[in-house]
């Protein structure tokens, strides 16, 4: 730590308060409070008890204290277990220790705006020789993205179409589709999962089967009759009216 502190050329003491922006070069350790942005060509350490109300832009950022603002680091961001961050974190590498509190968007990897500057230099060099080889993975990577993007409108269309079909089918009196009519709640849940495209594909088929509870019963009722002759008709008569009444009542209401 002595070496570390020796490198931390600038220190804002625990009682220190900066009202304004901090910029320049060198490392900066914040044990006190900074109300303003920090833009530094160096490392920024927000020590335990330190508080920064503003954006931090630096090469490396280490947070053990509290930051209310965005973190943008050229190399890496580390948030220790005692660290609290309310803001977006953008850096090629981000480490968050257990116990840390982070509220905001995390953007890591080469697609981060900071890293993009260096990326073109690295990628062409690596892909220059194996251009054909490098191309497929890119296309392959793009494909799922396109598929995912395509899946979104499809899902929306299917919903809209599904709504129309339901009405038609209800009129037709098909039970399996009337089961879909019980689906609206699933749609509501499905919209909540809009961010997960694949999950949405999976959920619709899975959920219809659950609400189709009435259907399995109907099927079960159909299967039961062979075993016992007298009971099936009763079950059918009882089961259907209740579901139909309930469903129609909700739909009409």
């Amino acid at each position: 730590m002595t070496e570390e502190r020796a490198r931390m050329s600038s220190v804002l003491g625990a009682t220190g308060l900066v009202l304004g922006n901090v910029q320049g070069q060198g490392d900066f350790e914040v044990r006190g409070r900074v109300q303003g942005d920090i833009v530094l060509d160096g490392r920024v350490l927000v020590a335990g008890g330190g508080l920064v109300l503003g954006t931090i832009e630096a090469i490396q950022i280490l947070v053990s204290g509290t930051v209310r603002g965005d973190l943008i680091a050229e190399e890496g961001v580390e948030i220790t277990g005692s660290g609290q961050v309310e803001g977006n974190v953008t850096s090629p590498r981000v480490a968050i220790e257990s116990g840390a509190k982070v509220r905001g968007h995390l953007r890591t990897g080469d697609d981060s705006p900071v890293a993009v500057r260096g990326a073109p230099d690295l990628r062409p060099a690596a892909e220059a020789a194996p251009i054909p080889v490098a191309a497929p993975p890119v296309a392959a990577a793009a494909a799922p993205v396109a598929a995912a993007a395509a899946a979104v409108p499809d899902g929306a269309e299917q919903r809209a179409a599904g709504g129309k079909k339901r009405r038609r089918r209800r009129r037709g009196g098909d039970r399996p589709l009337s089961v879909d009519a019980n689906g609206p709640p699933t749609d509501a849940a499905g919209t909540a999962a809009t961010h997960v495209d694949e999950g949405r594909k999976d959920t619709p088929p899975a959920r219809p089967t659950r609400p189709s509870g009435p259907m399995p019963r109907a099927e079960g009722a159909g299967q039961v009759p062979p075993s016992s002759d007298g009971r099936p008709p009763r079950k059918r008569g009882k089961a259907l009216p209740t579901f139909v009444k309930g469903a129609r009542g909700h739909l009409r209401g």
Partner: protein, 107 residues
């Protein structure tokens, strides 16, 4: 070692306030206020008032300097502003342009 250190290369575009000692080798474009010692190094530059218990200036200050104990203008210091402190020393090679008020009882 001072509680707060603003090293050369660092620029604070605003005010700096601390209860502990402050050492500045960088640049402060605002007031510096401390209830303890304030050390302004040779490479420092403060473009507003400086206030502390003891203030030693070796860099450039464009503003008033006030201390409850003493002010020391070291060699190489360039102060444009008034000094208000019970004790004041001005070293050979220091540049000072302003008024001095050493009357006890203020502050």
């Amino acid at each position: 070692m001072a509680d707060t250190i603003i090293s050369s290369g660092l620029i604070i575009d605003g005010n700096l306030k601390a209860d502990g000692s402050v050492r500045i080798d960088g640049q402060v474009l605002g007031r510096v206020q401390s209830s303890a010692a304030v050390e302004l190094g040779p490479t420092s530059s403060v473009s507003a008032d400086v206030q502390g218990q003891r203030v030693s200036v070796a860099g450039t200050v464009l503003g008033n300097v006030q201390a409850s104990e003493r002010v020391d203008l070291l060699s190489g210091a360039r102060l444009t502003g008034d000094v208000r402190a019970p004790r004041l020393t001005i070293a050979d090679g220091a540049s000072f342009r302003g008024k001095v008020d050493m009357e006890a009882g203020h502050d």
